[in-house]
Symmetry: C2
DNA sequence: CCTGGAAACGTAACCGATAACGATTGCAGT
DNA sequence: ACTGCAATCGTTATCGGTTACGTTTCCAGG
């Protein structure tokens, strides 16, 4: 029996099996050039010692590690859904996944975090990385796929059809009869925030409704950022009859603020979000929102990264996935004055 | 400007700064024995090159890495909630987190996965690990905290008060008037599965209802495992009027099977789950379940692991957290025959 | 002027594994 | 028996960083 604290290394195996570490390495990696008898000896020694190769040591020397990385600045429901999709795409692919999260960044937003995480991982540990909602351009020795990339980014990315989704969402409100529709924008540097605002403007334009700049609040996708903005919009004498928020997280905060101000949803106010996070279904009333299947985003991102790493990707580097409107209880025709 | 594919290493910094790598290392790690002038030079070179130390290389030599690991066999909503709690506990603690997920195991259950992951990480990369719902005993050079440990395990662990939770859940059904209550058990090797079954028996005993062994189905916490069991229970002539499933995932499958068989919940069948995963709130009807705050489990596990690593833990190594019953629409008094 | 000791810094071993290379062996063909 | 080639396996450099140890520098004190 081996004592609990013995880290079994390759040289231990080599000693027991009576061969060199090189031979052990060949057996472990299934390389050519080892006799059947030696393989058996080494296997026995490995079994006996309970040896497992060290990810760290091998990744230092190897070029390929068969491990993909994922970095995200925090773990919201959003991220969890993405993760499920990623895992599904990686299932039985031979690639493992490492998720790196820096505790110091939790909840706060400091620029450049993704670059720091990236260089720490992609030095040797991972063959490529998925970055969820980055803050800026990144560079790395290995391929990067961005989920919800920054505006103007040219690298590989996966995102929802934010323009169409937002247009549909606002058109839904206009169809119900709303004419004063407020908007709470997302973080400006992200392409998604930009497109969602474009969709808002496009839908209004199509309906012949002029954009009132004072009805637009500048949020940053962080749910908390929506609170003062919603409060400002809803305390106006000429408050909007509907609010479209660029993310569900922010939309849920709008619901909270409305309740706090004694407004009933959807009688006094209609609210639409974007994302369709799980929580949106379980509020009362349910949140009408634009579904962008974060599961699918994760799935596609992982599929792309996998192929980029193996060098067999021949589809476009920018994937755009369809969205669809999910109508729940938070929207209705405006009450007549 | 550095070209995109240049991995900046410590020796690059050393060359630019005109010192040895040893000195660079001392500066990076804030060690004693470097003159102020040299520190400035090195700092400048680091800045200029955009150097970031490699997690892999340093962890190979170092004993402490300030990185904690988490291994889980799959990513369910369960795991995502745990993660949020873990991240919260680690926030600004100086510890980063690495989550390792093996794609080959996704969805399938192969024994010993946690040991494999553990040795790959804890060799050098992490200072300690959290293991979610393990399959067996584990050993490691570094501390391990199990969330929902195996039965009879003596190592550090965090779990819900499964016995009390299950007892309350079944008592709730009995209070409503149910007398034939089916049970779908979880994976037998886990302490939680065992305690939940004990709670089921205890509640029946307290109400003076004899246990009918044929009403107990042997699941394994995997939602799919509940399907044939639920089908068998509900197709009997003397089918139970209520079913208590040892996890929400399985309980949701029971709801599906009931619908498939044309049974109306809660009129024809009451269902209770355990866990309170987000999905339970958004089904129709909502699932009555036992909340065990997986967020809290994650939080406590991370808090414990952190202290175990730094050697300052003085509380008991086994933490048990309270549960509480969440009554939703899936339970009601049985219809009178 | 010499010595002692601390501060500052470089050298080289080392962590665990991989891979290029060289050395040895086995065996078939002549 | 000898050559040639392939199969087999050990040696060693290497990955990037850390650290034990040795060396040099510098200054204070005798």
């Amino acid at each position: 029996m081996i004592e609990a604290n013995a880290p079994v290394t390759m040289s231990d195996v080599a000693r027991i099996a009576g061969v060199s570490t090189a031979t052990v390495s060949r057996v472990v990696n299934g390389h050519y050039g080892v006799s059947a008898r030696t393989i058996a000896q080494v296997r026995t020694a490995i079994e006996q010692l309970g040896y497992e190769s060290s990810l760290v040591a091998s990744s230092l020397r190897r070029s390929r590690t068969n491990v993909l990385g994922l970095v995200a600045h925090s773990f919201q429901s959003y991220t969890a859904e993405v993760l499920k999709g990623v895992m599904k795409a990686l299932s039985r692919s031979g690639f493992d996944l490492i998720i790196y999260a820096n505790s110091d960044l939790y909840g706060s937003y400091s620029e450049g975090w993704e670059q720091r995480h990236l260089t720490r991982l992609s030095g040797t540990l991972t063959d490529g990385c998925i970055v969820v909602t980055p803050w800026g351009e990144m560079r790395s020795r290995t391929p990067i796929v961005a989920i919800d990339p920054v505006r103007g980014s040219t690298g590989p990315s996966v995102m929802a059809d934010n323009l169409a989704g937002a247009t549909t969402a606002v058109a839904h409100l206009l169809d119900l009869g709303h004419r004063r529709v407020g908007f709470i924008a997302g973080r400006d540097s992200l392409a998604s925030a930009w497109s969602r605002e474009e969709g808002y403007r496009a839908a209004l334009a199509a309906a012949g409704v002029a954009v009132d700049p004072t009805l637009i609040g500048r949020g940053d996708f962080n749910p908390e950022s929506a609170v003062p903005l919603a409060r400002a919009l809803l305390q106006r004498a000429d408050r909007p009859s509907a609010i479209f928020a660029a993310s569900d997280g922010m939309a849920l905060k709008v619901l909270e603020v409305a309740r706090e101000l004694g407004l009933s949803v959807p009688r006094d106010l209609s609210v639409v979000g974007f994302d369709n996070i799980p929580e949106s279904a379980s509020t009362d009333p349910g949140l009408t929102t634009v579904d962008q299947s974060m599961y699918q985003l994760g799935y596609e991102a992982a599929r792309m990264l996998k192929s980029l790493v193996t060098g067999e990707w021949d589809e476009p580097h920018q994937i755009v996935l369809p969205t669809n409107l999910v109508v729940r209880g938070s929207t209705a025709a405006p009450a007549r004055d």
